[in-house]
Symmetry: C2
Subunit: 311 residues, 2 copies
Amino acid sequence: MEKELVFGHQNPDTDAIGTAIAFSYLQNKLGYNTEAVALGEPNDETAYALKKFGFEAPRVIKTASNEVDGVMLVDHNEPQQSVSDIDKVKVTHVVDHHRIMNFNTADPLYYRAEPKGCTSTIVWKMFNENEVEIPKNIAGLMLSAIISDTLLLKSPTSTEEDKEAIEALAKIADVDYKEYGLTMLKAGTNIADKSEEDLIDLDAKSFELNGNNVRVAQINVVDLPEAMERKEAFLKAMETASKENNYDMFMFLITNILDSDSEALVVGSDENKAIFEKAFDKKLNDSEVKLPGVVSRKKQVVPPLTDAFEG
Amino acid sequence: MEKELVFGHQNPDTDAIGTAIAFSYLQNKLGYNTEAVALGEPNDETAYALKKFGFEAPRVIKTASNEVDGVMLVDHNEPQQSVSDIDKVKVTHVVDHHRIMNFNTADPLYYRAEPKGCTSTIVWKMFNENEVEIPKNIAGLMLSAIISDTLLLKSPTSTEEDKEAIEALAKIADVDYKEYGLTMLKAGTNIADKSEEDLIDLDAKSFELNGNNVRVAQINVVDLPEAMERKEAFLKAMETASKENNYDMFMFLITNILDSDSEALVVGSDENKAIFEKAFDKKLNDSEVKLPGVVSRKKQVVPPLTDAFEG
């Protein structure tokens, strides 16, 4: 069987990296020949989870077509979030929990999407459907991915199946998921030793919304006022990044994982800022707005932005 | 639970109609509230299968948004093959076995695609995964769909799982699938009492290939020379349909289901005919070409056409 690469999106998070490792393991058990790789280095939270369950960080690739003809995507499908030469390889499998956008193929493929809180929840179901046993360390990694994406089941993206998966995987991994989960999430909130340029790119995704290149970045913190002290420097970094990358709008969501509230900073033209205000029915105050209860880019940010840009 | 409609593509075949009925049944068992409908009347083959297993033809709809907010698609995803107001409803589920093209959503959804011979094979797996018993008449319909799409497992789109599904479903439906299958396929080959206009629209799909509106129609026969006697009338009907619907190319595939060979008729500009010739590496002779062994539009026609139009 010809080798294929398995990877998550750019600026990888624990779902992108953890689920790539888990899905690659599953596919190899089913007879494929795959290697899990990543489109970037693990963030602090992911590094914590990898270390906890005894994994090395996956090899980072810049392009895929120099090594393989076929790839399998996890946790994303939009081409601009994928490997730079995605148009030069054949996507044979996708497992994802996002909207589908600008994803076109010449041939039929395996595509499995469900509106669950985390891709690992879907992969957990696939392990069960295929009656493949989940090793203890893989279970730990999938557990970490679900905790990360659902903010320990507090995100509105969480579903009953995410909870079932967390409980089943915690049992296999032999950890207290609440205690481990909070420690892991906190490991990802250390922003003090990172530059503003790094922080606005740590967990950032680009979306094409009605012809506009919209960047939405998010960081998790445990102290919002402390993060907002760096507001001017964040805005400056966002302005620079927008110029360099032709973003039409840049939204930076700073989420307090303890109380599930966010503040957003927004950079862009007056016209696009007005679209933002329409999307959330809130006025920006000096490029800033409080978004109480908003923690999910996918469920609470991208759909209203999509509607507003298309409206 | 709010009602949703389940349907297959325009110009429905036995997979589109049979799988809509089967998937609607499964989803209702899983707690959804759905009705299987169709985007057109059943063809002769499908009508034979429906009658054999005691079903009425599903209600034909022209639009969906006047009755429901959400829909579930089977056996297609491309908007131009779907209901006319597909952009006005939310697609919540897709089960399909085709390439993905121009299918975009604002929200995450359930999407299940596998490169199998028939959508019913995937739905058969979903019944098993969800441990829902398949009623005898539904099994018969799914069996009919798989026989239709795989030409009794002779199409190159057939997979090992299609065979497993056929055998399992034939057991539940209590029929000899080879004997029933040939009778059912032959029921769909009666072209004598149909006009050329009807025949070129019976099983026809539109594809957007690099900005070109390409129509590919197919009929099954048991006597190719008899069908080719109507060549001039077919070409005239294809020319008229192309003008009325702005098709950039119209390809009509006439397939002998007994020996798995086809002849194709092609209408279009000289430039597009040249692209067609490049796609199949064959010269058209008076708008006609023999395509031995070609029986699958999805696997043997659309991919080479896509490559040729893009290349």
